[in-house]
Amino acid sequence: MISAKNITVTIGARKILDDVTFDAAAGKVTAIVGPNGSGKTTLLRAITDEIAHSGTVAINGTDTVTMSSAALSTVRAVLPQSGTVAFPFTVLELVRLGLTAGRSVADLRMLDHLPHAALKRVGLDGFEGQLIQGLSGGERQRAQLARVLVQVWEPVLDGTPRWLFLDEPVSALDIGHQLVVMNIARAFAKAGGGVVAVMHDLNLTSMFADHVTLLHDGQVRVSGAPDVVFNDTDLSACYGCPLRTNTAPTSTAPWILPQSAILTPEAIQ
């Protein structure tokens, strides 16, 4: 369980987040959505202690302020939106960095195979020897995901759920790899772990999330299951454009299209 209460983040004179309360349950994929500047990434960075904030964050019932980075690294892994790597590490060396978090040297010897397994899962097997700097944006994003996955490889460890925090994990990916990554998140949650993901694509969110928090102007507009949150009124108001939800032909998940938003030739002029 992630329980963030009364989170407020102020940068300069601007209140980026205003008294936000956010919960996420283990065993579920929880998505944070909202228009640009609504505070999605800031919320993720606040609940992962990357930026100063007021309010409290608890992970599995423990206030994160009372935990060391070493202790936190064993229960949660965080995938940033974009990550630069300062030196020419190979893909394998990068992924192995995730392996070292919170594990003893003896454990590490036993787990030498994990980086390969993680790379295979994100579709990068065979890329072990390549330099990070030589990868495409999408490959780099998946290599970083593999690093994050090996850090919390078992979704539940000693009866405690572990957490994946993903900031726009599919932003640089083609449609096939978007599905690969979202299925990894689903599988992690299904096995008992918790996933919190900042998402841009509402339809992917609708397909893969169990719970959605819709942010608008630094506040929670609505929170709940996708078929509750994704309604014409809230979406159109938040995103500032006419949006209509429908259901996809082969499922009951809400499907969002910018119908009636195509400007007529007169309007363009």
Binding site: S69, L72, S73, A86, F89, E93, L97, H116
Partner: protein
């Protein structure tokens, strides 16, 4: 794709990207090369027909050696050689640590003003040390100059890091520009002190500029070696943190690193070892850039193997530079900083050109 090709590829895959074995092989080769260079350094000099091996064995009671041989080998060349090994190792490891800390392959204690700060501390101690109360002079004794160099190096490293780091990100351009400003300032203050110095002090001061192993002796070595050895021993404990830091400070924290604590240790360690090195040899530039860069090309950037190998290669490079500086204008000696700069400066430019896009400058 042909089946045979696929199979071969899969069999090769588990080893691909793992450069740890290559790093181990490099380490063994460097160990051998260092021993050779150390022996060569003992036999290298104006007096050519010295029985180095005999003098070495004589100390252990295994052979006989003349008093001249014993003096030259044990009182002149031995402290010089050990100083070269320690300072070379200290400069290379400090360079690697600093580059890891700043997330930039061009960070070097000599370039960004740390050595200049340490030099200022040492010069201040030489010129102003005599003005201090006798009691203080007695307490600090031979350690005053290393201590002052350490404080100077520490203050400039800290200042530099504070100026160049904003919101957890360290800016390369800011770092280099701040380093220029810092170097200018310390240069000016050093200039004032030189102006105020006596003739005797001036002779001590002249070698700070370019650095030299020529003034090495056992007393200086005893005062600086505990500091240098301590930082060399602690450096490998920073390895995992430095690797993680390559991904940025937030990611390093998520990987379980206490980033603030680690940065403090790294800054103190660089300041201590550069301070101690500058105190006994003056400012020697570029070792901290050349050595880690060559090793990253050879074995990859993982610090667990980079730091110890940098110590080995740093010692070798400095000893070789010292040998060049002793023969190139023999019987006079060229300051060793000139030799390292002639080799290092073009390499620095080459790294700069190659990494221009990556560095964002």
């Amino acid at each position: 794709m042909a089946v045979g090709h696929t199979l071969a590829f899969q069999q090769a895959a588990p080893m691909a990207g793992d450069r740890r074995i290559r790093a181990r092989v490099t380490q063994v080769m460097l160990c051998g090369a260092l021993v050779l260079t150390m022996l060569l350094s003992l036999g290298w000099g104006a007096a050519s027909n010295i029985d180095v091996i005999g003098a070495l064995l004589a100390r252990l009671g295994l052979a006989e050696a003349g008093p001249v041989d014993m003096t030259i080998v044990w009182d002149i060349r031995m402290p010089r050689m050990i100083t070269g090994v320690l300072v070379g190792a200290a400069l290379a490891v400090s360079g690697a640590v600093m580059q890891g800390l700043f997330r930039n392959p061009l960070a070097d204690p000599g370039l960004v003003g740390v050595s200049a700060g340490a030099g200022l501390g040492a010069v201040a101690a030489i010129v102003l040390g005599g003005l201090m109360p006798v009691a203080v002079q007695q307490i600090t004794g031979g350690y005053l100059i290393p201590l002052a160099a350490f404080l100077g190096g520490w203050a400039s490293t800290l200042l530099l890091y504070r100026v160049a780091t904003n919101g957890g990100q360290t800016s390369v351009a800011t770092m280099l520009l701040a380093g220029i400003a810092l170097g200018g300032l310390t240069g000016a203050v050093t200039g004032v002190l030189v102006y105020a110095a006596t003739d005797d002090q001036l002779r001590d001061l002249t070698f700070w500029g370019m650095g030299s192993l020529g003034g090495a002796n056992w007393v200086k070595l005893y005062s600086a070696s505990p500091v240098i050895l301590a930082t060399l021993v602690t450096a490998p404990f920073l390895a995992r943190a430095l690797d993680a830091l390559a991904l940025g400070e937030p990611v390093a924290a998520h990987l379980g690193i206490d980033v603030q604590r680690m940065k403090r240790i790294a800054i103190m360690s660089v300041a201590a070892s550069v301070g101690a090195s500058v105190a006994i040899t003056g400012g020697i530039g570029f070792i901290g850039i050349i050595v880690p860069h060559m090793l990253r090309l050879a074995q990859g950037p993982e610090h667990r193997m980079l730091l110890p190998n940098a110590a080995l290669l740093g010692a070798i490079v400095l000893l070789l530079s010292d040998m060049i500086s002793r023969v190139i204008v023999a019987p006079a000696e060229l300051p060793i900083g000139i030799v390292t700069a002639i080799i290092g400066a073009p390499l620095f430019l080459w790294i700069l050109i190659k990494n221009r896009s990556m560095l964002g400058i």
